[in-house]
Symmetry: C2
DNA sequence: GTGCGCTTTACGGAAAACCATAATGAGTGT
DNA sequence: ACACTCATTATGGTTTTCCGTAAAGCGCAC
């Protein structure tokens, strides 16, 4: 079993649950951090000292507080780590069940497991640790679909970006200008209209207001 | 200190954290449930047996799964309990920081404490338990504002109604017609425009989309 | 009654969103 | 080179929202 594990999770109670689970698995050397930057530092330091971590268990969302952070989310942490320390195993442990996000983490960032927090969270996590230790991949039942078919009912990052700007009060025209200056494509007003129209149809929304309201409900923005 | 406590929380790892905290406070009789309905049943049963719970610590959101539930959220559980068992102390322990929701829980449902999950979650919870035990109220720093009467309080029922219809995709014209047939005054398109304009100024929103998004964030609609 | 303050309603123009359709362009396969 | 598909961009017209201003309605004091 793994000997040295790092847990990155901003909520201390979840940290406790994970900690207890790791102990039950017989893992003795467990470090915990509440900030992404700390996780990176700790891993760097351990590698430098010649006793690197073998496994990282990390959340995705870390709420911002007074401390200013370079890495603001688990995603950026994972990206950074998988580049610098490809041999480090990573398990993402998050409440986020948006398929698109999981897919990109698995396929692009190459995390070793994705476990959904929830009623079965810790049991799944336990399974995941076993699997990852045996060089297998693990994905919670809730988001298994993310690996299979590309269900079209998904919302990609571009669209989320678009909806976020909308919800912040920008007009479609202003968003178009913004995308042009930031070299985000497509950027024409026409394309933005078209994309929003697609989303409205997709989610049976009458107008942009309802669309944004629905996305808020789902927690997508 | 409390002797008999029930914890309602669907995530088992958080349950572990809360459990550990309660143990540290010297509380020995701790029951845990993962469904709202179970919480209600357990409390009823304990009261019937003559050894009622003294404190309930509950989450707000319980994700639905295969088990069909009568009570779907912590809110409904709290409402039900505060009616039937007014002497039961209730602490809400949730990640939800929408002020309006907190306000209604504190003022209408009369919960004894509202603790935000987060980095300081368990420490705050510990404080809250002490305070509640001494018949004081406790509210996490993050949502202290919810108790002070401030801007969000100045939205009346008519405006909430209006915003809700907006968020459901009705046009201002349609809302006007709806209000006319339902004898809700004012109902003219002009008045609706004016009211929305007032709200936009009040909340510094650029347009109706942003306004609805902000109201969603605050939990007003 | 008249005057005053406030709310509701009405109207018109500008801006933005909505909608259909057409043109352009990039990539693919033959 | 050609046809074909698909995404992006462009264009014009209709509806809705946004915004200012003005008129009508109403309670109230004098």
């Amino acid at each position: 079993m793994f000997a040295k594990v790092l847990v990155a999770e901003d909520m201390e109670d979840i940290n406790k649950g994970v900690y207890a689970t790791l102990r039950e698995l017989g893992i003795t050397e467990i470090d915990q951090v509440q900030y992404c930057d700390d996780a990176l530092l700790r891993i760097k330091r351990a590698a430098y000292d010649g006793s690197p971590f073998e496994l990282l268990i990390t959340d995705l969302s870390f709420v911002a507080d007074h401390r200013t952070q370079k890495l603001s989310s688990g995603e950026s942490l994972v990206q950074e780590l998988k580049q610098s320390y490809p041999e480090l195993k990573i398990i993402v442990y998050s409440i986020d069940n948006r398929l698109q996000k999981v897919r990109s983490l698995i396929n692009e960032s190459c995390v070793n497991a994705y476990v959904c927090k929830g009623r079965r969270g810790l049991r799944d996590l336990s399974d995941a640790i076993f699997m990852v230790y045996n060089n297998k991949r693990y994905v919670s039942q809730e988001v298994q679909n993310a690996l299979r078919s590309n269900s079209t009912l998904e919302v990609d990052d571009y669209e989320i970006e678009l909806l976020k700007h909308l919800s912040k009060g920008l007009s479609q025209d202003e968003i178009s200008e913004l995308f042009k200056t930031n070299n985000i494509s497509p950027s024409s007003l026409s394309s933005i209209e078209k994309r929003l129209n697609k989303l409205r149809i997709q989610f049976n929304a009458n107008n942009a207001i309802q669309l944004v309201a629905m996305m808020k409900d789902v927690g997508l923005i």
